[in-house]
């Protein structure tokens, strides 16, 4: 239900337009205009895809070929050395595990607490509600560098420096406000009548939240979990400042460290970039229809 609410705007417009274009063949106008539009999009597509193609091509080269002058565009003898190299010579598997565990824990925690708060904001009009919501939104604007210094000291003091737990706590600063606003947007789409029916049946408020609201929010909740996951996955600053040992660092930090090495092995680094970027790309492809609704946090409502 929440899902159909969120999707209504763009989807209806999309469907409407497709029908129209079928109805009116010359929808795009005269041919010079058509050529112009497609030409422009082709240039943009090249700009967008070329760096990825270059990454992929390099990831499949031998180191010698990557250093050829002039560079070759398609690997002469494609090899998986870069990909195996990053797993064997770096602890890429460990980085991957750390990133996954930390991002997942952050995402689940933020979405649970975010949904609780989102339910409170959505259903109860208590004094100070608007100020509090503004506060939640404003915390999203704070730069990480304002917080990361004190975090370093605080985590050291309680023995959580260079641990995954410490990183999860830190990532909550990014993900919790975001999750609160997004979940509130989704909960707004659930009719309050559903709550009232359950309350009449003798359910407590918390019971309504856990048994009625959360199940209905399914898709929206999954989307918010995955976005929070990706917010945490893409971070460099916090990992850089709050972890240091090979057993604790994340994928992004592992890759960033490789750039800082004296001799950069480019096929290996591009293979790492490919592997580090792939989960994000796959999740977004899967999620893109939720993207706008999630990111503008209710701003899209007409």
């Amino acid at each position: 239900m929440a899902r159909s609410e969120q999707r209504r705007g763009p989807m209806v417009a999309l469907g409407g337009r497709q029908q129209r274009s079928r109805g009116r063949l010359r929808g795009l106008g005269p041919w010079p205009f058509r050529v112009l539009v497609y030409g422009f999009l082709l240039v943009v597509a090249t700009y967008v895809l070329f760096p990825f193609a270059w990454m992929l091509s390099t990831a499949l080269k031998t180191e010698a070929e990557a250093l050829a002058i002039p560079p070759t565009w398609i690997p002469g003898e494609p090899t998986l050395d870069g990909i195996t190299g990053i797993w064997v010579r770096k602890n890429f598997g460990v980085y991957f595990f750390n990133s996954t565990v930390v991002s997942l824990a952050t995402a689940v925690l933020s979405v649970f607490f975010g949904a609780l708060a989102g339910y409170g904001f959505s259903r109860f009009h208590f004094p100070g509600r608007q100020v509090l919501m503004g506060f939640f939104l404003a915390t999203q604007m704070l730069p990480g560098v304002l917080l990361v210094g004190p975090y370093f000291k605080m985590l050291n003091a309680v023995g959580l420096y260079d641990t995954r737990t410490g990183l999860v706590i830190a990532f909550l600063t990014i993900c919790l406000p975001f999750a609160t606003w997004t979940m509130k947007g989704f909960i707004d789409g659930v009719p309050p009548e559903m709550d009232e029916a359950a309350l009449v049946d003798g359910c407590s408020r918390l019971g309504v939240f856990l048994r009625i609201i959360l199940p209905v929010l399914g898709p929206g909740m999954v989307a918010t979990i995955l976005f929070s996951f990706l917010l945490a996955w893409g971070d460099l600053l916090w990992a850089l400042c709050l972890t240091t040992s090979e057993n604790m660092i994340t994928v992004t930090l592992g890759i960033a460290r490789t750039v800082g090495e004296f001799r950069i092995i480019w096929p290996m680094l591009m293979a790492g970039s490919l592997l580090g970027g792939l989960p994000a790309i796959l999740l977004y492809l899967f999620l893109q229809r939720f993207l706008v609704a999630g990111l503008t946090a209710g701003a899209l409502k007409q």
Partner: protein
């Protein structure tokens, strides 16, 4: 009646409380520590404005401030320009629209560290693809050192940043365009409005809210940008691509000037809150 209302109010607070306490703990506390730290003299006790006085005189801070300003203004302007152009093109009845929208989103999807690394390799003067392409097309006479020299590094960083950031704006504006009722365009057509008039009097007003949202969010993100610069240049060569976030990081974790780093971060936060205030008010008020 009155008791039911107070009970509802209390329940509302209880739902919000866990997240609020968590946020105050994990975010409010460190923010407060930073704020206090910024009013301390180096290594000493008491409160003073020493760090802020120093900040005003520090030429490195000045340069970093302008670098950040330039990066943010140019990146955001390019994101909006390119994003709007692509969104308008994609709003036309094109069969390739869904595929193209997916493809165009890719740069924004990868972690910005990875975007920075890809572009660093693309810019490589000897083995990079960019020089090779431009040389082959005859647009360059000799290989260019994209991340060297006086002005080019910042330009190159911005170019990579435009690549990484425009898809988000495109996506938001496209959603905004698709939400504009088609009847308005049809009515305008009947009234004999030109394409330019339709754009000026229907498209732009219809997009206003989405333009504000993308402008605000994008500006905030670009001011906070860290991974891309850290991966590409680490603020170098010298301090030519140093931005506020990399400077704070260096001052804190490399030079251990905790108080000074905090002062820079506080200034940065002030700027961010100022920039995002209209957005925060607009969004909160709608509730």
């Amino acid at each position: 009646m009155a008791t039911a209302r107070t009970k509802a109010i209390r329940t509302g607070y209880l739902f919000v409380l866990p997240a609020l306490l968590l946020l105050l703990g994990v975010l409010g506390l460190p923010a407060l520590v930073s704020l206090l730290l910024s009013f301390r003299p180096e290594g000493g006790g008491g409160l003073s404005l020493e760090q802020y006085r120093f900040l005003l005189q520090d030429s490195l801070f000045h340069q970093t401030f302008w670098n950040t300003g330039l990066l943010v203004v140019l990146s955001v302007a390019a994101h909006l320009g390119l994003g709007l152009a692509v969104a308008l093109a994609l709003n036309l009845p094109l069969r390739a629209q869904p595929v193209f929208r997916l493809v165009a989103l890719l740069p924004w999807v990868v972690p910005d560290v990875i975007a920075g690394i890809i572009w660093k390799w693309l810019y490589n003067p000897l083995n990079g693809a960019l020089n090779d392409v431009l040389l082959r097309l005859g647009l360059l006479a000799a290989p260019l050192d994209w991340l060297g020299g006086r002005y080019l590094p910042l330009v190159s960083v911005i170019l990579a940043n435009v690549w990484r950031g425009f898809p988000f704006v495109m996506l938001i504006l496209l959603a905004g365009l698709q939400a504009i009722p088609r009847e308005r365009y049809e009515a305008a057509n009947i009234d004999g409005a030109t394409a330019l008039q339709r754009f000026r009097y229907i498209t732009i007003p219809g997009l206003r809210k989405m333009l504000v949202v993308s402008l605000a969010l994008d500006t905030v993100w670009e001011v906070r940008r860290f991974g891309l610069i850290q991966a590409m240049t680490q603020g170098g060569p010298g301090s030519l691509t140093e931005i506020l976030s990399t400077l704070v990081y260096k001052q804190y974790f490399k030079f251990f000037r905790f108080e000074y780093a905090s002062a820079i971060a506080v200034v940065m936060t002030g700027v961010l809150l100022l920039v995002s205030l209209p957005y925060i008010r607009m969004i909160s008020r709608e509730e």
